[in-house]
Symmetry: C2
Subunit: 319 residues, 2 copies
């Protein structure tokens, strides 16, 4: 069996750990197609937060308490950069992380595409899944906001990390999406998949930038594999992160139904066949989409693997 997962960073990484665990019981292959809209160049370093979150988490090197970055991280480089007075100073650039960014940036500058760089980094981390960026092309999420009474587009990281999303927010723009091609392997993986899962990642700033790659969205929407999404909202709150702020900014309801409405039914030009919602959201109805209510708290790997089993059952592909 072949499973493709569309994923953002931290929440997606946690979900993928469950996918990997369940896939092992099935002897299934897993390909993660990961958001690159958060990527940013800072201090000359190309930083890929979502790819790194997945890589570190599946490599067992993430910090489970802080949620992002490496366990046992230190901050000397960041403190020194601040002492030089260079901006931005608000970004959490760890020393271990810096080495990852140095390796990546040097490979990119040497001409390797991000997908090849990711594969090279994964040679160390052995995530147990094939990790692919949605695209090797520049695709950056910018956010149209009001800062100091002025309307500006800022990079997603500035919105997320510096301002914690706490600005009047008008819309999200996926710069470069119109010309972005899916990374090598992405379309093949989707077309060969037995099921495509959408991780309970932020629909607006993690999944939408993936689906903003036209050919990728078409492959998901029109491909042979059933598509099942997992709600990132339980009740009226995001499982983690700031999906509530993002949904509100795009005028969507902060609910499992609201997110499914954004994704839409495959029968109606959207991407979903099935939608997994939390038990507390039983009764959620989405036009043209089969819903199922199961526990969605990813409290541990077993609980997450059980979610995945339910998702595969909903897709009709479980072994």
């Amino acid at each position: 069996m072949r499973i493709v997962v569309l994923s953002g960073g931290i929440g997606g990484a946690k979900f993928l750990a469950g996918v990997r665990a369940h896939a092992r019981t099935l002897g299934a292959e897993v390909t993660a197609v990961v958001n690159v809209g958060d990527d940013v160049r800072m201090h000359g370093l190309q930083i890929c937060p979502d790819l790194d979150s997945v890589m570190y988490t599946l490599g067992g090197a993430h910090d489970p308490d802080r949620g992002w970055g490496r366990v046992g991280e230190t901050w000397v480089v960041k403190e020194e950069l601040a002492a030089y007075g260079v901006e931005p100073s608000w970004f959490g650039l760890g020393d271990k992380d810096t080495a990852t960014h140095l390796v990546r940036t040097q490979m990119l500058n040497a001409g390797y595409p991000l997908s090849a760089v990711t594969a090279a980094l994964c040679a160390r981390w052995q995530p147990g899944v094939t990790l692919l960026p949605a695209t090797d092309d520049r695709l950056e999420t910018h956010v149209v906001v009001d800062v100091d009474d002025e309307r500006r587009a800022i990079h997603f990281q500035e919105w997320w990390v510096r301002y914690r999303g706490d600005l009047p927010t008008h819309r999200f723009v996926f710069v470069g999406a119109d010309n972005a091609k899916s990374a090598p392997g992405v379309l093949d993986a989707i077309n060969a998949a037995d099921v495509v899962l959408i991780a309970p990642s932020n629909p607006v700033v993690s999944i939408a930038p993936i689906l903003a790659v036209g050919a990728l969205r078409d492959a998901v929407a029109s491909g042979p594999a059933p598509v099942v999404g997992v709600s990132p909202i339980i009740g009226t709150s995001p499982v983690r992160g700031m999906a509530d702020k993002c949904l509100t900014a795009v005028g969507a309801e902060v609910s499992a139904a609201g997110v499914a409405g954004l994704y839409g039914s495959r029968s109606d030009g959207g991407v979903l066949d099935g939608w997994l919602v939390d038990s507390s959201d039983a009764g959620t109805e989405v036009a043209g989409v089969t819903t199922r209510a199961v526990p969605l708290w990813m409290t541990d790997e077993d609980a997450t693997a059980a979610m995945v089993r339910h998702a595969l059952e909903l897709a009709g592909v479980n072994a």
Copy 2:
């Protein structure tokens, strides 16, 4: 009074601390013209060991025990790069240092010349002297050696750090020197100087690459200011570093006289008017050069400042 010092890294930095101390008693301005032949790009970072040694030492941030780099340095980035298996792994890349290199590399990549970058970094370190690279152009010291029975040219850092100079060594090549222009301010400083001092740095790989910049050498050799050098050799040993290996490689005697012979007398196309040797080398004679024997061990800043006073006296310019 205006003092120009030609300097390499660690030994030159120590000497410059003495120059600065003595200059303060005179109200004199000091300009350090620093070797860039050791500079190297590693892991995508532009590293300037000699400029940094001077900057950190005069900024009070150097590690006096290790001799190079920052006090309280940590090595997370280096260990992580090694864990990724990326080469070179033999270079001592500290975390604090990494931040300096990131700031420098980003400014260079943005188009600023090294001299402007150095000035920007010095805004933090306040070295109390004007720090100038010999050139903003690429000038790299390579070393022609035998490795595994094969003759190859390797970067100076590989020769120095990786092999500790312990290879059959044939010659040093200053790649780019033919086309290198002196950095902005260098010629003006030399032409306006009351005295030019040559620090007790390695003559072959620290001072020679500075003088390999044609216009710079001409300004020193033909300028109005007297030129006094300080021997880096006491007896038959270098004050620090591997000047003995370098001198032997170029066929020069490992002695104060041997080094002065390399520099040559200004009356004969060389760069020296005066040559300060250690008390134990009293009696050293160099054709066309006035020698003087004084204690040359830079045991502390006072001892070094006293050397500088002797050098200025020898130049006939002391207040």
